[in-house]
Assembly symmetry: C2
């Protein structure tokens, strides 16, 4: 075991697009677990859009990050030293371990949960992790999809969108996805079974939505915000549900960001727009994971993972996330 | 009976603020009811914010208005000639009779409903009419108020807001209203029992909301849109409901109107924003009217009415509505 604990610390509150210089590489000694504690060695570290807001403490549902703190990040790991009888060495775990090789935990701080060795860490972090849970509860609890309804998903080739779309298909919906490349669009329709896809970078999104959804959109699952949210709000059907899952187009903007000018269509269409925080659903994660595992076994739910090798690439990987370089879940293999 | 049917016709699609010249005064012969029809003489004509959008056919939940059509408006009337056994002469009725002295109906086109002589036409058109129904269903069905929750209402001295606020008080909520004059604010707190009121024209709305609602807003009932919607979105509590009832600050604006830049707080606060059209609730109006009549009898629900005398003042009255000249329900006595 190495004696160094590689870390990326938050060095600056980003202005506009996150930059590598917003992080500082640091080597700390590997921490020693005290009584009742375990030492976890991270294996994969997750890159998620919400990390951008956390760098600025925009979100108050997690503790604030100070400059100099280890950057917060989800990850998988393995218990390599244990002073806790319930958590033996060799246990595979996932949790918010941060951008570092090693973390000490008593099971509560940071919290972790064990996962079975038959589950690949990439699944634990993706379809069965935060983004999968987000897709599951955002779609099923907030949007309440019914068979035959038209579902539009932005950021559809991302970790959350791609899972939300597949669940909507499982529920009998007609599903269209927006993504940023022809390759991603082909993956959505070819591999994941979406009924159609729109390349928002090259196609006229409004025209395509009109063509694909002539009777309007029953459910819009929004991961991006901005102009695409407005284009979808203009095309919602009566009693539509607009789930605000994310707003990645906003995260790297500075100053005042415009709101959805078509929000008033919620009145004409008797529709609702709703936000949520997946952490609120933590007590129900086990039921979701059971459903998801069943769908995976039946071949009805697939995960794509973009794995970047090398701890040192973490800041770059986060930037690539915002550039849309990934298909499906983006993570760094430590 | 006069032989002239005074009318105001839609003369122009308004640009910006509605103007008197957007209407043409016209005198038509009093129509003659055919078999199965009745002739209704209007007694009060309602002025409502939604009329502005109808002048431009912005709303698709009612039939479009062509230039030269009699301007659409709600009203009360009395059946003065009847060729229909179910609708005898002398029946008091309310419906969408338009800006005119007389209208012919078969009971369906335009639809009308009779009301008891013990109900004043001002009540039939107000607290028991469209604006009262809007307050009732918007607040109770969409916002689901619970005792002890904090409710903020904009346009609170208007016909809908003043009723919504009183119903929220009946349900045990703490209620704050925004209005455009000190007189209106005094009426809200003094007469209607609101817990506080903010004069948005002279006070710092954000500071006042912070002071009155230190733990956030559980329900925001929005009649105005614009900056006030944003200030309230910034202050919603967890699981808040934002009911989009109207957006009067938008109705007389031309060109692109900004959306609520703070909409993303729906995510951080796990909140929802929802619109509705009161006409969808028509089958349930009787239950609402029964509740409202009970509350009126118990002295728990009061209506203020601003009555302008004289048919010829209809266009001016509509302009005054948008200038905020009214307290409570605004109508013209024909």
């Amino acid at each position: 075991m190495t004696t160094q604990n590689r870390q990326f610390l938050l060095a600056a509150r980003p202005q506009g697009m996150v930059k590598e210089s917003d992080f500082t590489y640091h080597e700390a000694p590997v921490p020693t677990p005290g009584p009742g504690q375990v030492l976890i060695r991270t294996t994969y570290i997750s890159l998620d859009p919400s990390m951008r807001g956390q760098m600025e403490n925009r979100a108050d549902y997690v503790a604030p990050l100070a400059l100099g703190d280890v950057m917060r990040a989800g990850g998988t790991g393995e218990i390599v030293t244990s002073n806790h009888p319930d958590h033996p060495v060799g246990t595979l775990v996932q949790g918010t371990f941060g951008m570092q090789d090693y973390v000490v935990s008593d099971g509560h701080n940071p919290p972790f949960r064990a996962f079975d060795a038959k589950i690949h860490p990439q699944q634990a972090l993706g379809v069965l992790g935060g983004t999968g849970m987000t897709a599951y509860f955002g779609l099923l609890d907030l949007a309440e999809p019914q068979p035959g309804q038209v579902v539009v998903i932005s950021g559809a080739a991302g970790a959350t969108g791609s899972v939300a779309g597949q669940i909507a298909k499982l529920k009998g919906c007609t599903v269209f996805g927006l993504a940023g490349s022809d390759d991603k669009c082909r993956w959505l329709t070819g591999e994941l079974g979406f009924d159609g896809a729109i390349n928002y970078k090259t196609q006229d999104v409004g025209n395509e939505l009109d063509r694909l959804c002539p009777d309007g959109i029953n459910i819009y699952f929004d991961n991006v915000g901005g102009e695409i949210l407005d284009l979808c709000l203009a095309r919602i059907a009566d009693n539509a549900r607009v789930v605000i899952c994310g707003g990645i187009s906003r995260y790297n903007q500075s100053g005042e960001i415009p709101g959805p000018k078509n929000y008033f269509n919620l009145v004409f269409r008797r529709a609702r727009m709703e936000g949520f925080i997946v952490l609120d659903y933590a007590p129900r994660f086990p039921e979701a994971i059971q459903d998801m595992l069943g769908w995976i076994e039946q071949g009805k739910l697939k995960q794509s993972t973009t794995v970047i090798e090398g701890f040192e690439n973490l800041p770059k990987a986060l930037i690539q996330l915002f550039e849309g370089a990934n298909t499906g879940k983006l993570m760094v293999k430590v």
